[in-house]
């Protein structure tokens, strides 16, 4: 079983997606436990893979026994194994969380929802484990198509937002495909390992440069990297809360993963650092993304939309770490992928729980909410502190490594930008926290305290609270244990030449 784990991790959710429909037709309520079981299996096999990778090194799995470069090969090193654990774990947690929220928002479509949900997970995990650039395109499209469908079932302008996403997402995917085409023309190979050995001789060829540009732009669209982020705020705002939590936490991170793969595995690091000024350009754009995201987040009154802009800023952080192109920076970026997955899943889940209970997303309506939903708001506060980067939450530790990366790269402006953007995000989140916890009163009445109108506690159901608190626990402990994570996994995921 374990030797086949790389393929099982994809096939299990894929096959189960179809079984899910059958099960749903027979007994509707069985879908939820079925999905949970399937995703638990995914988590289990991804952990098994990670364990194998840590103990025995990179796994090469030849699909159907065809040897590369002819057959499709799944190559799993520390980076993919790590990503697979993140994605499968987050999708499991969000699936647990989804029960009540889906019952309320999409009671008619539970069966189909979970089917597409599994397909989305299939796509994401496929992108992660594959070692073949064309196969990656296929999985990218599976994930995107599932994403379009899931977003479209949301409220208000969701179909329109999803349509926009389809158009832009397709352009991104096509660009990626074009890049693959150009690489194929000059090398005749689609296997990543093979390509990375064939390409260095061709680094000065214009075709390779064009291919690189197309690949990067394509991925940038998928990960909503500024300025190709325009589809994201609408799409993730109107999507059902569960979907926002899942895609916000995983989709952009998987995009970031693909970017790291292209820059440092497909192409040798010195190509993107020395031959082209890619890292410098990316760094500057990332800084703009961080500032833009935070400033636009300040202007929002809708909680989910605000989080969307924060997400854009967070993508900026990850790319900034990548752009430093040194050990510390990339460590910070990969650590931030993990941390941000937890933070975003938690924040969007909280937004969903609030929607579930009070049906509103406007920050102005949050007054007194800490009396009504104390646990949810506590979770929100902790996740917010993590985004700001307050120790001992995990967000601080990735920022620490990012700053170390900036120092090693002698990029003082970027280091300052990191600091400024964490202050900006502090403004963003403390606005919400202030609005929720404090009840401005006229000074005259301030002293006869205890005169609040009684607000009964009315918390979100446990099936929501428990996943949220698992994520909070993650936020609180991942940072403390970041040393272990780095020494066991991330340091091997960073290219040896750094």
């Amino acid at each position: 079983m374990i030797t086949h784990a790389p393929i099982l991790i994809i096939v299990t959710p894929l096959i189960s997606a179809f079984f899910n429909i059958l099960i749903g037709l027979w007994r509707r309520w069985l879908c939820y436990p079925f999905v949970i079981t399937v995703l638990s299996a995914c988590v289990f096999s991804s952990i098994a893979i990670l364990d194998t990778v840590i103990n025995y090194g990179t796994i090469h799995y030849k699909l159907g026994g065809w040897t590369p470069p002819w057959g499709i090969e799944y190559v799993i090193d520390h980076l993919n194994a790590f990503m697979a654990v993140i994605v499968s774990f987050i999708s499991l947690i969000v699936a647990v969380y989804s029960k009540r929220s889906i019952e309320q928002e999409l009671s008619e479509k539970i069966v189909y929802f979970y089917t597409i949900y599994l397909l989305l997970v299939t796509g994401l995990l496929g992108i992660i484990v594959t070692g073949d650039v064309f196969n990656l395109y296929v999985f990218l499209e599976i994930a995107s198509l599932a994403g379009y469908a899931l977003i479209a079932i949301g409220e208000d302008r969701a179909p329109l937002a999803s349509f926009e996403y389809v158009i832009i997402g397709t352009v991104g995917a096509c660009f990626y495909l074009l890049g693959v085409g150009y690489l194929y023309i000059v090398t005749g190979s689609l296997n990543m390992t093979d390509l990375s050995q064939l390409l260095p001789n061709l680094y000065h060829s214009k075709v390779v440069l064009v291919a690189f540009a197309f690949l990067m732009v394509g991925v940038a669209v998928k990960m909503a990297f500024f300025p190709l982020h325009v589809w994201l705020p609408d799409a993730y705002t109107y999507a059902p809360s569960t979907v926002s939590a899942l895609v916000a936490a995983t989709m952009t991170k998987v995009g970031a993963y693909v970017m790291i793969r292209i820059m440092f595995t497909l192409f040798k690091p010195y190509f993107s650092i020395e031959l082209l000024p890619v890292t410098t350009v990316l760094g500057w754009i990332a800084v703009v993304a961080m500032m833009f995201g935070c400033i636009f987040a300040m202007a929002q009154s809708d909680l989910k939309r605000m989080l969307c802009y924060i997400l854009i800023a967070e993508v900026g952080y990850i790319v900034l770490g990548v752009s430093f192109a040194n050990r510390m920076g990339l460590t910070g970026a990969i650590l931030h992928i993990l941390n941000d997955a937890f933070m975003m899943a938690c924040l969007f889940s909280v937004a969903g729980a609030i929607m579930y209970k009070i049906g509103k997303r406007d920050i102005k309506d949050f007054r007194h909410l800490h009396r009504k939903m104390p646990f949810t708001m506590a979770a929100f506060t902790i996740a917010a502190l993590s985004v700001i980067g307050i120790p001992p939450t995990c967000g601080f530790f990735s920022k620490w490594y990012l700053i170390l990366g900036a120092i090693d790269a002698q990029q003082w402006i970027f280091a300052v930008a990191l600091m400024i953007s964490s202050l900006l995000s502090a403004i963003v989140f403390f606005r919400v926290i202030e609005n929720t916890y404090f009840e401005p009163r006229v000074p005259v009445h301030a002293h006869n305290g205890g005169t609040h109108e009684e607000i009964k506690m009315d918390e979100a159901p446990l099936s929501m609270l428990i996943p949220i608190f698992i994520m909070v626990a993650g936020i609180l402990t991942l940072g403390i244990f970041s040393g272990k994570i780095i020494s066991n996994v991330i340091q091997f995921a960073v290219p040896a030449s750094f």
Partner: protein, 496 residues
């Protein structure tokens, strides 16, 4: 120096964290139980901290590594003499403050008391963490926790002004936080370690320009909480908070954490040798001298009692920093002693301000005429505290100021001797009129000329701290061995 691995420092940090959880779980339903947690935690925290004193006096160091992040980068608690000084100070005063808080909060029937006690307990955990932090990163972690935990306390009243004060507080302290973060990251990359070392660890690792930058960044970073002028603005604004919070902010946790950080940077990161050679100490010394005089002048102009006390705090914090900046043995000793002594005296003064407010709802100095007849115990304690801060023997303020003056002579900088003396003179100028008004002026109509004190929950703590500042003046080594601890710390730093 012998290093013992011990869990005590962690326990000292954790005990109030656990209490915070219990406080939240108990909530408003069982107020007495909730208050019991606070008192239990404060007492057990004191016992744990006090149990570490014998080890330190024997010249040992206690250490507990929470987790290792990277080579040379640990989350580590290490108790040395200087850390213990701050730990003992904070844990002692917390007992007084918790009792007083209970009296104050109930006396005013304040809202959101659970949140108040919760944040208070977290803030104390963070303060312990700061005191016992073994390196700059650990210190920073707890420093930020302290910022966040005290924010709801500052904005406690939830009036528009209070919320504004909270925002200002956050803006100042979070900005300071990222500055410290950047400076620590650079220090780590330069030296490969962040562990505090008596006498500093930065020497020989950085160019002169980089040293200057790091010094400025770290001093600004910690200086915000230590309210060095001109980055002190948040402190008077934060006076809007309930009085026990002000007392905590001023005497125990926040500003002292800032001063503690500054002293750690001066003495344990840069080290006296490096600072002396680079001449940076003189710049800092002139800068804080300006703060000393400026804050005292501004204090003269305040009518609001708490604001006047706030400026007096700014003045005293700068005195402590000046002591360390002078780098001579007596000056450092004086600075450290003043950190402890000022804690006792200033908390007394704030407790008095709070007691007056709870009893009579008076906030301004000009309204205090004749109050000594109504509240003799309270105003008597105020007189003791005021004399102490001014530096009149036999109160403890005298001892620390004596060493500070000696220190400025040792450093051959007569200018700073005059700074200390001028400041003492100004202290007298803005404190004694209050005492005079209270005892010698005829009461106005709205003052009850008969004995009518505030609740005993408030009067007993404030009298205790007043008496403590008197006792510490006569026996500086009494009870918790402040004098011995400080002497040890100075010996370690200067390699004596």
């Amino acid at each position: 120096m012998e290093v013992i691995s011990s869990i005590r420092p962690l326990l000292a940090v954790m005990v109030s964290l656990i209490a915070a959880c219990l406080i939240v779980l108990t909530g408003e339903r069982a107020r007495n139980l909730r208050e019991l947690w606070t008192i239990l935690a404060s007492v057990s925290k004191f016992i744990i901290v006090a149990s570490m004193i014998p080890f330190i006096i024997q010249g040992k160091t206690l250490e507990y590594t929470i987790i290792s992040l990277a080579p040379g980068l640990l989350l580590q608690l290490r108790v040395d003499a200087f850390g213990l000084l701050f730990g003992v100070l904070a844990s002692t005063l917390w007992i007084a403050t918790s009792l007083y808080s209970i009296g104050y909060m109930r006396g005013l029937n304040e809202h959101a008391q659970t949140r108040y006690f919760f944040c208070f307990a977290i803030a104390l955990s963070a303060t312990m963490g700061i005191a016992f932090a073994g390196n700059l990163l650990t210190l920073f972690v707890f420093y930020e926790v302290l910022t966040i935990a005290t924010y709801p306390l500052v904005a406690h009243k939830e009036t528009p002004e209070a919320i504004k004060a909270g925002r200002k507080y956050l803006a100042y302290t979070l900005t300071a936080g990222v500055v410290i973060l950047l400076a620590s990251a650079i220090t780590y990359r330069l030296t490969g370690t962040l562990d505090f070392k008596p006498g500093g660890f930065l020497a020989g690792h950085a160019s002169a320009d980089m040293l200057r930058f790091l010094f400025v960044a770290l001093i600004i970073g910690f200086g915000v909480k230590a309210a060095i002028m001109p980055i002190h603005e948040w402190l008077p604004t934060a006076m809007i908070a309930p009085t026990p919070v002000s007392a905590l902010l001023h005497a125990v946790a926040v500003v002292k954490a800032g001063v503690f950080g500054v002293l750690r940077v001066i003495l344990y990161v840069f080290g006296p040798g490096l600072l002396h050679d680079s001449g940076l100490w003189l710049i800092l010394a002139y800068f804080v001298s300006f703060t000393i005089i400026g804050a005292a002048m501004l204090a003269l102009a305040q009518d609001n009692l708490k604001r006047r006390l706030a400026f007096s705090t700014i003045n005293n914090l700068a005195i402590i920093i000046l002591g360390a900046a002078l780098l001579s043995p007596s000056a450092i000793k004086g600075g450290m002693l003043h950190m402890a002594n000022h804690g006792f005296m200033k908390i007394t003064l704030f407790f008095v301000a709070g007691a007056i407010y709870v009893k009579t709802h008076k906030e301004n100095v000009s309204e205090l005429d004749g109050l000594g007849r109504q509240m003799p115990l309270t105003m008597g304690s105020f007189a003791i505290g005021a004399m102490g801060v001014t530096g009149i023997p036999p109160l403890c303020g005298f001892i620390s100021k004596w060493y500070l003056c000696l220190g400025s002579l040792e450093a051959h900088e007569i200018v700073f001797l005059f700074v200390f003396l001028t400041s003492a003179f100004l202290d007298a100028a803005f404190f004694f009129p209050i005492v005079y008004r209270a005892f010698f002026k005829n009461p106005k109509e709205d003052v009850n000329p008969h004995f009518n004190e505030a609740s005993m929950f408030m009067v007993i703590p404030l009298m205790t701290t007043a008496v403590a500042s008197l006792v510490l003046g006569i026996f500086p080594n009494a009870l918790v061995h402040f004098y011995e601890i400080v002497t040890l710390a100075v010996q370690n730093i200067l390699g004596g």
